[in-house]
Amino acid sequence: MSEVISVNNVSKRFGKKTVLDNISLKVPSGVVFALLGENGAGKSTLIRSMLGYTKLNSGSISVCGLDPLKKPLEIRRQVGYVSDAPGLYEWMTVAQAGWYASGFYPDGFLRNYAARINEFQLPADSKIRDLSKGMRAKVALSLAMAFDPELLIMDEPTSGLDPLVRRSFLESMIDRAAAGQTVFLSSHQIQEVERVADWVAILHQGKLQIVSPLEELKSSVTILDLSLRDPLLALPDEMEQLEILHRIQKGRTIHMMVRGFTSAIELGLSKHANLFEIKAMRPNLEELYLGFTQPYESIQARERNGQGKSNQTEVA
C-alpha cells in the first residue's frame, strides 16, 4: 500500500509563533484518516500546506507523489478539497456552479454532479446566496466529489451544521472509503470520527502527539481507575512497567491512561493491599483525545509548580 500523503519533518512558524513543530505522518491509501486537535493547533495550516497554499519553513510534503508547491495543478486534479467556509460564488445557481467547475475537469463531471445534487435533494436553480448553510456545504461537497478524486481532503466540513447534513457527509465519506479512495479529515466531532476513522492523528500545540490506526490505539491503551485505601502510600512496583500517558489523582481515586497493561500486571496489582478496586477499560476516542492532549509530563509540571498538590489533599 503506497502512501497518499507523506509529511516529513514539517515545521511552520508565523512570526514568533510555531504553528507546526516537526510533524511527520504518512497516510496510507484507501483509509479514512482523521486529524484531531483543538482550535489553533495547526490543523488548517497543515492542510493548507498539503494543497500548496502555505510555504513551509522546513521539511517537505508529498501528496499523491507530487510536491504541492511545484505541481499544484496536478494535485488539484486528483484531490478534492472541502473547506469549512466554502467560498462559492453567491450569484451562481447550483447548476451554474457545477457547470463552471466542469470546465476544469475531464468529462463525466457534470453527470456525477447532477447525480449528487439529486441525491442531496438540492434545488438546481436556486442561487447559492439563497441556500442555507447546510445546503451550501452539500454543494461544496458535491463539487469536490464530482470528479472522483483519489483523495478527498476535508477541513472541518460539518462545523455548525445540523445532524442530518452531518450524516450526509459521513455517508459520502464512507462511500469514498468503500470505493477504495482516501479521505483525509480534520474534525472536532469525535463521535463521528470514532465511527468512520481508520487512522487518527492528534495534533496539540503544534506537535503531533500520536499517529496510529484507531483500533490499534484502542487496544493498546487502557484506562485504569484505581481506588486506594491510603492515598499517601506509594504505588506498587508493577506500575513501573507501564507507560503512563495521563494521570489524575483525586483524593483516593487515580484515573490513569496507560500503555502496556497486561493481565499479568493486573494480577500483580490486585494482590496489593492498598488497591481495593481496579477497573481497566478500553478507552473511547474522547478519553484518548483528552488524555493525549494533556500528557502526563505537563500534569507533572503543573504538580511541581504546586497546583496539583491541593488535589491530593481532598477527601473523596
Binding site: 483509509v31 479514512v32 450524516r167 459521513l170 455517508e171 464512507i174 462511500d175 472509503a177 468503500a178 470505493a179 463521535q191 463521528e192 470514532e194 465511527r195 468512520v196 476513522a197 481508520d198 483500533e215 484502542k218 487496544s219 477499560m281 478500553r282 473511547n284 476516542l285 474522547e286
Partner: protein, 132 residues
C-alpha cells in the same frame, strides 16, 4: 434488522457488529439463506468505516456463519443458527460469571447469592412465558 453500534462503550466496533448479527441469527430475525447488505451498504447504513464492517464480515465468514455468494452479496449460512445459539450461550455464560464474580468480590455470601439467583430465575421464566 436493527443494529445499534456504540463506538464508545469499550467493545470494539467490529466485535459489536459480529455479536449483533449472531444474535439476530440466533433469534431467527435473520434466516439461513437471507442476503444481508453488502459491506458498503451496511457501512453507509450504520455510518461505520467499511473496513470495520469488512472485518466483522470476514470473521463471520471464518466462523461459517456468513458465506459470500458470488455476485449477489453475503448470505447467512445454512447451519448458522446452531452455532449462533451456542455462541450466544457462551456470551451469556461469560456475563453470568462476571456478575457472580462481582457479587462475590462485593462481599455477598453464597446463600444470599443463591436466593437472589433463584428469585431472579423464577421472575425471568414467568415473564418469558408471558411473552411467548
Amino acid at each position: 434488522m436493527q443494529l445499534s453500534i456504540e463506538p464508545n462503550n469499550g467493545i470494539p466496533i467490529y466485535e459489536q457488529l459480529v455479536r449483533q448479527i449472531k444474535y439476530a441469527v440466533a433469534e431467527g430475525i435473520l434466516v439461513p439463506g437471507q442476503v444481508i447488505p453488502s459491506v458498503r451498504d451496511m457501512a453507509k447504513q450504520l455510518t461505520l468505516n467499511p473496513n470495520t464492517v469488512q472485518r466483522a464480515y470476514f470473521q463471520l465468514q471464518n466462523e461459517e456463519i456468513l458465506q459470500s455468494l458470488r455476485g449477489r452479496g453475503v448470505a447467512v449460512c445454512e447451519g448458522a443458527k446452531k452455532q449462533c445459539v451456542a455462541d450466544r450461550q457462551q456470551l451469556l455464560a461469560e456475563r453470568l460469571a462476571a456478575v457472580l464474580d462481582e457479587a462475590i468480590r462485593g462481599g455477598l455470601d453464597e446463600d444470599r447469592l443463591r436466593s437472589m439467583f433463584e428469585k431472579a430465575l423464577k421472575n425471568a421464566i414467568r415473564t418469558g412465558e408471558k411473552q411467548s
